[in-house]
Amino acid sequence: MNPSPRGNTATSAFARLLETLRPDLVRFAFWLARDRAVAEDVVQETLIRAWKSREEIKDPAATRPWLLTIVRREHARLYERKRLPTVDLADAEAQGDPALLASDSSDGEAGLDDLRRAILQLPDEYREPLVLQVLGGMTTAEIGEQLGLTQSAVLTRLFRARNRLRVIYGLAPTEDVE
Protein backbone atom coordinates (compact mmCIF):
# COMPACT_ATOMS: atom_id res chain seq x y z
CA MET A 1 0.00 0.00 0.00
CA ASN A 2 2.45 2.56 -1.19
CA PRO A 3 0.93 4.69 -3.93
CA SER A 4 2.83 7.73 -5.08
CA PRO A 5 2.47 10.54 -2.55
CA ARG A 6 1.07 13.08 -4.99
CA GLY A 7 -1.44 10.67 -6.53
CA ASN A 8 -2.33 9.39 -3.12
CA THR A 9 -3.01 12.86 -1.81
CA ALA A 10 -5.28 13.79 -4.71
CA THR A 11 -7.03 10.45 -4.57
CA SER A 12 -7.59 10.69 -0.84
CA ALA A 13 -8.90 14.22 -1.18
CA PHE A 14 -11.34 13.14 -3.84
CA ALA A 15 -12.46 10.17 -1.75
CA ARG A 16 -13.03 12.43 1.22
CA LEU A 17 -14.97 14.84 -0.93
CA LEU A 18 -17.20 12.03 -2.19
CA GLU A 19 -17.77 10.87 1.35
CA THR A 20 -18.74 14.39 2.37
CA LEU A 21 -21.14 14.80 -0.51
CA ARG A 22 -22.60 11.33 -0.36
CA PRO A 23 -25.44 12.08 2.11
CA ASP A 24 -26.80 14.84 -0.08
CA LEU A 25 -26.52 12.60 -3.13
CA VAL A 26 -28.60 9.97 -1.36
CA ARG A 27 -31.14 12.62 -0.40
CA PHE A 28 -31.30 13.97 -3.93
CA ALA A 29 -31.64 10.46 -5.35
CA PHE A 30 -34.38 9.69 -2.85
CA TRP A 31 -36.36 12.75 -3.84
CA LEU A 32 -35.98 11.77 -7.47
CA ALA A 33 -36.86 8.13 -7.05
CA ARG A 34 -39.06 8.34 -3.95
CA ASP A 35 -37.60 5.01 -2.99
CA ARG A 36 -34.69 4.53 -0.61
CA ALA A 37 -33.43 1.28 -2.15
CA VAL A 38 -33.39 2.81 -5.60
CA ALA A 39 -31.71 5.89 -4.18
CA GLU A 40 -28.92 3.80 -2.67
CA ASP A 41 -28.45 1.94 -5.94
CA VAL A 42 -28.36 5.16 -7.92
CA VAL A 43 -25.78 6.68 -5.61
CA GLN A 44 -23.66 3.55 -5.70
CA GLU A 45 -23.59 3.69 -9.48
CA THR A 46 -22.95 7.41 -9.33
CA LEU A 47 -19.94 7.01 -7.08
CA ILE A 48 -18.52 4.28 -9.28
CA ARG A 49 -18.83 6.45 -12.35
CA ALA A 50 -17.50 9.48 -10.54
CA TRP A 51 -14.52 7.54 -9.32
CA LYS A 52 -13.71 6.29 -12.77
CA SER A 53 -13.98 9.78 -14.21
CA ARG A 54 -12.34 11.65 -11.36
CA GLU A 55 -9.62 12.98 -13.62
CA GLU A 56 -12.26 15.09 -15.38
CA ILE A 57 -12.75 17.20 -12.28
CA LYS A 58 -10.22 20.00 -12.03
CA ASP A 59 -12.15 22.31 -9.76
CA PRO A 60 -13.39 20.77 -6.50
CA ALA A 61 -16.20 23.34 -6.41
CA ALA A 62 -17.57 21.81 -9.59
CA THR A 63 -17.79 18.36 -8.06
CA ARG A 64 -21.16 18.78 -6.43
CA PRO A 65 -23.14 19.83 -9.53
CA TRP A 66 -21.20 17.27 -11.54
CA LEU A 67 -22.26 14.52 -9.15
CA LEU A 68 -25.87 15.70 -9.14
CA THR A 69 -25.82 15.46 -12.91
CA ILE A 70 -24.57 11.90 -12.69
CA VAL A 71 -27.25 11.06 -10.14
CA ARG A 72 -29.91 12.33 -12.51
CA ARG A 73 -28.49 10.34 -15.39
CA GLU A 74 -28.09 7.18 -13.33
CA HIS A 75 -31.61 7.53 -12.04
CA ALA A 76 -32.93 7.84 -15.58
CA ARG A 77 -30.70 5.01 -16.75
CA LEU A 78 -31.85 2.73 -13.95
CA TYR A 79 -35.47 3.30 -14.77
CA GLU A 80 -34.79 2.75 -18.44
CA ARG A 81 -32.71 -0.39 -17.88
CA LYS A 82 -34.90 -2.04 -15.30
CA ARG A 83 -38.12 -0.53 -16.59
CA LEU A 84 -38.99 0.20 -13.02
CA PRO A 85 -42.54 1.24 -12.48
CA THR A 86 -43.09 4.75 -11.32
CA VAL A 87 -43.50 4.82 -7.58
CA ASP A 88 -46.95 5.15 -6.23
CA LEU A 89 -46.80 7.02 -2.95
CA ALA A 90 -49.19 4.63 -1.22
CA ASP A 91 -47.07 1.70 -2.35
CA ALA A 92 -43.93 3.44 -1.22
CA GLU A 93 -45.36 3.96 2.23
CA ALA A 94 -46.56 0.37 2.35
CA GLN A 95 -43.03 -0.80 1.55
CA GLY A 96 -41.50 0.88 4.52
CA ASP A 97 -41.03 4.51 3.69
CA PRO A 98 -43.28 5.52 6.58
CA ALA A 99 -40.28 4.84 8.77
CA LEU A 100 -38.50 7.50 6.84
CA LEU A 101 -41.39 9.82 7.13
CA ALA A 102 -42.53 8.98 10.61
CA SER A 103 -42.40 11.53 13.36
CA ASP A 104 -38.96 11.83 14.80
CA SER A 105 -38.23 14.08 17.71
CA SER A 106 -34.72 14.61 16.35
CA ASP A 107 -36.29 16.77 13.67
CA GLY A 108 -36.88 19.27 16.39
CA GLU A 109 -40.00 20.54 14.75
CA ALA A 110 -43.32 18.85 14.35
CA GLY A 111 -44.82 18.85 10.90
CA LEU A 112 -41.73 18.23 8.84
CA ASP A 113 -43.05 14.84 7.90
CA ASP A 114 -46.24 16.35 6.57
CA LEU A 115 -44.11 18.63 4.51
CA ARG A 116 -42.05 15.68 3.25
CA ARG A 117 -45.20 13.87 2.23
CA ALA A 118 -46.38 16.94 0.40
CA ILE A 119 -43.03 17.21 -1.38
CA LEU A 120 -43.26 13.56 -2.38
CA GLN A 121 -46.65 14.23 -3.87
CA LEU A 122 -45.41 17.05 -6.06
CA PRO A 123 -45.17 16.15 -9.73
CA ASP A 124 -41.63 15.22 -10.73
CA GLU A 125 -41.34 18.33 -12.89
CA TYR A 126 -41.86 20.53 -9.84
CA ARG A 127 -40.10 18.45 -7.22
CA GLU A 128 -36.84 18.04 -9.09
CA PRO A 129 -36.01 21.73 -9.61
CA LEU A 130 -37.07 22.43 -6.04
CA VAL A 131 -34.64 19.84 -4.70
CA LEU A 132 -31.88 21.07 -6.99
CA GLN A 133 -32.40 24.60 -5.73
CA VAL A 134 -32.94 24.08 -2.02
CA LEU A 135 -30.83 21.00 -1.44
CA GLY A 136 -28.39 21.32 -4.33
CA GLY A 137 -27.89 25.05 -3.91
CA MET A 138 -28.23 25.67 -7.62
CA THR A 139 -29.31 28.90 -9.23
CA THR A 140 -32.25 28.92 -11.59
CA ALA A 141 -29.82 29.28 -14.48
CA GLU A 142 -27.91 26.19 -13.38
CA ILE A 143 -31.13 24.26 -12.91
CA GLY A 144 -32.21 25.29 -16.38
CA GLU A 145 -28.96 23.95 -17.73
CA GLN A 146 -29.42 20.69 -15.85
CA LEU A 147 -33.00 20.17 -16.94
CA GLY A 148 -32.79 21.67 -20.40
CA LEU A 149 -35.24 24.41 -19.56
CA THR A 150 -35.25 28.16 -19.91
CA GLN A 151 -34.68 30.13 -16.74
CA SER A 152 -38.22 31.42 -17.02
CA ALA A 153 -39.60 27.88 -17.15
CA VAL A 154 -37.55 26.95 -14.11
CA LEU A 155 -38.89 29.93 -12.17
CA THR A 156 -42.43 28.96 -13.05
CA ARG A 157 -41.93 25.37 -11.91
CA LEU A 158 -40.33 26.47 -8.68
CA PHE A 159 -43.14 28.92 -8.06
CA ARG A 160 -45.73 26.19 -8.66
CA ALA A 161 -43.90 23.79 -6.36
CA ARG A 162 -43.86 26.30 -3.52
CA ASN A 163 -47.38 27.39 -4.27
CA ARG A 164 -48.62 23.83 -3.80
CA LEU A 165 -46.71 23.51 -0.56
CA ARG A 166 -48.27 26.65 0.90
CA VAL A 167 -51.28 24.69 2.10
CA ILE A 168 -49.02 22.70 4.43
CA TYR A 169 -48.20 25.98 6.13
CA GLY A 170 -51.85 26.90 6.32
CA LEU A 171 -51.47 29.45 3.56
CA ALA A 172 -53.71 29.82 0.56
CA PRO A 173 -52.12 29.18 -2.83
CA THR A 174 -51.76 32.31 -4.88
CA GLU A 175 -52.91 32.88 -8.44
CA ASP A 176 -51.05 30.79 -10.97
CA VAL A 177 -49.77 32.06 -14.29
CA GLU A 178 -50.44 30.65 -17.72
Binding site: P3, G7, E19, P23, Q44, L135
Partner: protein
Protein backbone atom coordinates in the same frame (compact mmCIF):
# COMPACT_ATOMS: atom_id res chain seq x y z
CA UNK B 1 -50.78 45.65 -8.33
CA UNK B 2 -48.14 48.28 -8.04
CA UNK B 3 -45.89 49.76 -10.68
CA UNK B 4 -45.33 48.23 -14.10
CA UNK B 5 -44.93 44.67 -12.92
CA UNK B 6 -48.10 42.66 -12.40
CA UNK B 7 -48.50 40.99 -9.04
CA UNK B 8 -48.87 37.53 -10.54
CA UNK B 9 -45.56 37.87 -12.35
CA UNK B 10 -43.88 39.25 -9.26
CA UNK B 11 -45.14 36.24 -7.32
CA UNK B 12 -43.73 33.82 -9.85
CA UNK B 13 -40.38 35.48 -9.41
CA UNK B 14 -40.71 35.43 -5.63
CA UNK B 15 -41.90 31.84 -5.50
CA UNK B 16 -39.25 30.78 -7.96
CA UNK B 17 -36.31 32.31 -6.16
CA UNK B 18 -37.45 33.95 -2.93
CA UNK B 19 -33.99 34.78 -1.70
CA UNK B 20 -32.83 36.52 -4.86
CA UNK B 21 -35.14 39.23 -6.12
CA UNK B 22 -34.38 41.24 -9.22
CA UNK B 23 -34.38 45.01 -8.89
CA UNK B 24 -37.71 45.16 -10.66
CA UNK B 25 -39.35 42.63 -8.34
CA UNK B 26 -37.76 44.18 -5.27
CA UNK B 27 -39.15 47.54 -6.28
CA UNK B 28 -42.58 46.00 -6.73
CA UNK B 29 -42.44 44.30 -3.35
CA UNK B 30 -41.44 47.56 -1.74
CA UNK B 31 -44.61 49.21 -2.95
CA UNK B 32 -47.12 46.33 -2.88
CA UNK B 33 -48.22 45.18 0.55
CA UNK B 34 -49.82 41.99 -0.72
CA UNK B 35 -46.71 40.89 -2.57
CA UNK B 36 -44.52 41.94 0.35
CA UNK B 37 -46.65 39.66 2.54
CA UNK B 38 -46.33 36.89 -0.02
CA UNK B 39 -42.57 37.38 -0.04
CA UNK B 40 -42.37 37.24 3.74
CA UNK B 41 -44.48 34.09 3.84
CA UNK B 42 -42.40 32.43 1.17
CA UNK B 43 -39.17 33.28 2.91
CA UNK B 44 -40.56 31.93 6.15
CA UNK B 45 -41.25 28.61 4.43
CA UNK B 46 -37.68 28.20 3.24
CA UNK B 47 -36.07 27.11 6.47
CA UNK B 48 -38.51 24.29 7.04
CA UNK B 49 -38.46 23.37 3.38
CA UNK B 50 -34.71 22.90 3.55
CA UNK B 51 -35.05 20.95 6.80
CA UNK B 52 -37.64 18.70 5.20
CA UNK B 53 -35.48 18.01 2.18
CA UNK B 54 -32.47 17.23 4.32
CA UNK B 55 -33.79 13.83 5.15
CA UNK B 56 -32.58 12.23 8.36
CA UNK B 57 -30.64 9.43 6.70
CA UNK B 58 -30.24 7.55 9.96
CA UNK B 59 -33.83 6.49 9.52
CA UNK B 60 -32.81 4.52 6.46
CA UNK B 61 -30.94 2.18 8.73
CA UNK B 62 -34.03 1.45 10.78
CA UNK B 63 -35.62 -0.23 7.83
CA UNK B 64 -35.15 -3.85 6.84
CA UNK B 65 -32.55 -4.39 4.17
CA UNK B 66 -34.04 -4.09 0.71
CA UNK B 67 -33.18 -6.50 -2.06
CA UNK B 68 -29.73 -5.44 -3.07
CA UNK B 69 -27.98 -4.96 -6.35
CA UNK B 70 -26.81 -7.79 -8.56
CA UNK B 71 -23.45 -9.45 -7.77
CA UNK B 72 -21.80 -7.96 -10.83
CA UNK B 73 -22.44 -4.53 -9.49
CA UNK B 74 -21.08 -5.48 -6.11
CA UNK B 75 -17.97 -6.75 -7.81
CA UNK B 76 -17.60 -3.49 -9.64
CA UNK B 77 -18.18 -1.55 -6.46
CA UNK B 78 -15.55 -3.67 -4.77
CA UNK B 79 -13.04 -2.84 -7.47
CA UNK B 80 -13.70 0.83 -6.98
CA UNK B 81 -13.43 0.38 -3.25
CA UNK B 82 -10.08 -1.17 -3.78
CA UNK B 83 -8.94 1.86 -5.65
CA UNK B 84 -10.23 4.10 -2.93
CA UNK B 85 -8.69 2.09 -0.15
CA UNK B 86 -5.37 1.96 -1.93
CA UNK B 87 -5.64 5.68 -2.33
CA UNK B 88 -6.21 6.12 1.34
CA UNK B 89 -9.83 6.94 0.79
CA UNK B 90 -12.85 6.07 2.83
CA UNK B 91 -15.48 3.40 2.67
CA UNK B 92 -18.18 5.05 0.68
CA UNK B 93 -20.71 2.55 -0.40
CA UNK B 94 -23.45 1.56 1.89
CA UNK B 95 -25.05 -0.69 2.90
CA UNK B 96 -21.80 -2.49 3.62
CA UNK B 97 -21.39 -6.21 3.30
CA UNK B 98 -20.94 -8.22 6.49
CA UNK B 99 -17.85 -7.50 8.51
CA UNK B 100 -16.12 -10.75 7.56
CA UNK B 101 -16.74 -10.00 3.90
CA UNK B 102 -15.27 -6.55 4.30
CA UNK B 103 -12.20 -7.93 5.99
CA UNK B 104 -11.69 -10.51 3.26
CA UNK B 105 -12.24 -7.93 0.56
CA UNK B 106 -9.59 -5.80 2.18
CA UNK B 107 -7.14 -8.66 2.43
CA UNK B 108 -7.77 -9.75 -1.16
CA UNK B 109 -6.82 -6.36 -2.39
CA UNK B 110 -3.45 -6.39 -0.70
CA UNK B 111 -2.18 -9.77 -1.92
CA UNK B 112 1.40 -8.63 -1.71
CA UNK B 113 1.11 -8.44 2.04
CA UNK B 114 1.62 -12.20 2.29
CA UNK B 115 4.63 -12.17 0.01
CA UNK B 116 6.81 -10.19 2.40
CA UNK B 117 9.06 -12.21 4.69
CA UNK B 118 11.38 -9.60 6.16
CA UNK B 119 10.14 -8.34 9.52
CA UNK B 120 9.17 -4.72 9.68
CA UNK B 121 11.19 -2.68 12.10
CA UNK B 122 9.80 -2.04 15.59
CA UNK B 123 9.78 1.67 14.77
CA UNK B 124 7.72 1.14 11.63
CA UNK B 125 5.29 -1.10 13.47
CA UNK B 126 4.99 1.40 16.28
CA UNK B 127 4.28 4.16 13.78
CA UNK B 128 1.47 2.15 12.19
CA UNK B 129 -0.07 1.35 15.55
CA UNK B 130 0.24 4.94 16.66
CA UNK B 131 -1.44 6.17 13.50
CA UNK B 132 -4.34 3.85 14.24
CA UNK B 133 -4.36 4.77 17.91
CA UNK B 134 -3.98 1.13 18.84
CA UNK B 135 -1.68 -0.74 21.22
CA UNK B 136 -0.79 -4.22 20.10
CA UNK B 137 1.98 -6.60 21.08
CA UNK B 138 2.76 -9.88 19.42
CA UNK B 139 5.49 -12.42 19.81
CA UNK B 140 5.16 -13.40 16.16
CA UNK B 141 7.34 -11.68 13.58
CA UNK B 142 5.38 -8.95 11.85
CA UNK B 143 6.27 -8.84 8.18
CA UNK B 144 3.71 -6.35 6.98
CA UNK B 145 2.20 -3.37 8.73
CA UNK B 146 0.04 -0.77 7.11
CA UNK B 147 -2.37 1.82 8.46
CA UNK B 148 -5.45 1.12 6.40
CA UNK B 149 -8.80 2.90 6.15
CA UNK B 150 -11.55 0.57 7.23
CA UNK B 151 -15.11 1.54 8.02
CA UNK B 152 -14.13 5.13 8.32
CA UNK B 153 -11.23 4.53 10.68
CA UNK B 154 -7.56 3.84 10.31
CA UNK B 155 -6.78 0.33 11.46
CA UNK B 156 -3.51 -1.58 11.61
CA UNK B 157 -3.37 -4.19 8.90
CA UNK B 158 -0.65 -6.62 9.98
CA UNK B 159 0.73 -9.89 8.69
CA UNK B 160 2.44 -12.14 11.20
CA UNK B 161 4.47 -15.21 10.38
CA UNK B 162 3.57 -18.47 12.08
CA UNK B 163 4.77 -22.02 11.71
CA UNK B 164 1.78 -22.61 9.48
CA UNK B 165 2.34 -19.59 7.28
CA UNK B 166 1.35 -15.94 7.27
CA UNK B 167 -1.78 -14.71 9.01
CA UNK B 168 -3.39 -11.37 8.51
CA UNK B 169 -4.37 -9.56 11.68
CA UNK B 170 -6.55 -6.49 11.64
CA UNK B 171 -7.08 -4.77 14.95
CA UNK B 172 -10.55 -3.25 14.77
CA UNK B 173 -10.68 -1.10 17.85
CA UNK B 174 -13.84 0.63 16.64
CA UNK B 175 -15.81 -2.51 15.73
CA UNK B 176 -17.70 -4.37 18.41
CA UNK B 177 -18.10 -8.12 17.95
CA UNK B 178 -20.68 -9.95 20.04
CA UNK B 179 -18.69 -13.17 20.03
CA UNK B 180 -16.25 -15.13 17.94
CA UNK B 181 -17.47 -15.61 14.39
CA UNK B 182 -15.63 -17.87 12.04
CA UNK B 183 -15.99 -17.33 8.33
CA UNK B 184 -14.97 -18.83 5.06
CA UNK B 185 -15.01 -16.67 1.97
CA UNK B 186 -13.58 -18.11 -1.22
CA UNK B 187 -9.88 -18.71 -0.79
CA UNK B 188 -9.86 -17.28 2.71
CA UNK B 189 -11.10 -18.25 6.10
CA UNK B 190 -10.67 -16.80 9.52
CA UNK B 191 -12.38 -15.41 12.54
CA UNK B 192 -13.54 -12.12 13.98
CA UNK B 193 -13.70 -12.02 17.76
CA UNK B 194 -13.89 -9.51 20.59
CA UNK B 195 -10.57 -8.08 21.69
CA UNK B 196 -10.03 -5.24 24.07
CA UNK B 197 -12.73 -2.62 23.58
CA UNK B 198 -13.19 -3.66 19.96
CA UNK B 199 -12.41 -6.73 17.96
CA UNK B 200 -9.72 -8.44 15.99
CA UNK B 201 -9.88 -10.23 12.66
CA UNK B 202 -7.54 -13.07 11.79
CA UNK B 203 -7.45 -14.26 8.20
CA UNK B 204 -5.68 -17.23 6.70
CA UNK B 205 -5.64 -18.97 3.37
CA UNK B 206 -8.31 -21.64 2.99
CA UNK B 207 -7.02 -24.85 4.54
CA UNK B 208 -4.32 -23.11 6.53
CA UNK B 209 -4.20 -23.72 10.27
CA UNK B 210 -4.95 -20.66 12.35
CA UNK B 211 -7.03 -21.80 15.34
CA UNK B 212 -4.01 -22.40 17.51
CA UNK B 213 -2.82 -18.84 17.12
CA UNK B 214 -6.02 -16.91 17.61
CA UNK B 215 -6.01 -16.63 21.37
CA UNK B 216 -2.39 -15.51 21.44
CA UNK B 217 -3.06 -12.95 18.74
CA UNK B 218 -6.07 -11.66 20.61
CA UNK B 219 -4.15 -11.29 23.83
CA UNK B 220 -1.87 -8.87 22.05
CA UNK B 221 -4.58 -6.23 21.98
CA UNK B 222 -4.06 -3.76 24.82
Amino acid sequence: MSGALECKHARVAIGGEPQVLSAEVAQHVATCAACAKFHDETLAMEGRLKAALELPLHRFRKLPEPARVAPRRFALAASVLLAMLVGGGAWLFRPQPALAGEVVEHVKHEPGSWQVHEPVSPEALAAVLAKAGVRYDTRFPVTYASPCPFRGHIVPHLVVQTDHGPLTVMVLAHVTAEGAGEFSEGEYHGVVLPAGAGSIAVVAREGQEFDGYVETLREGVR
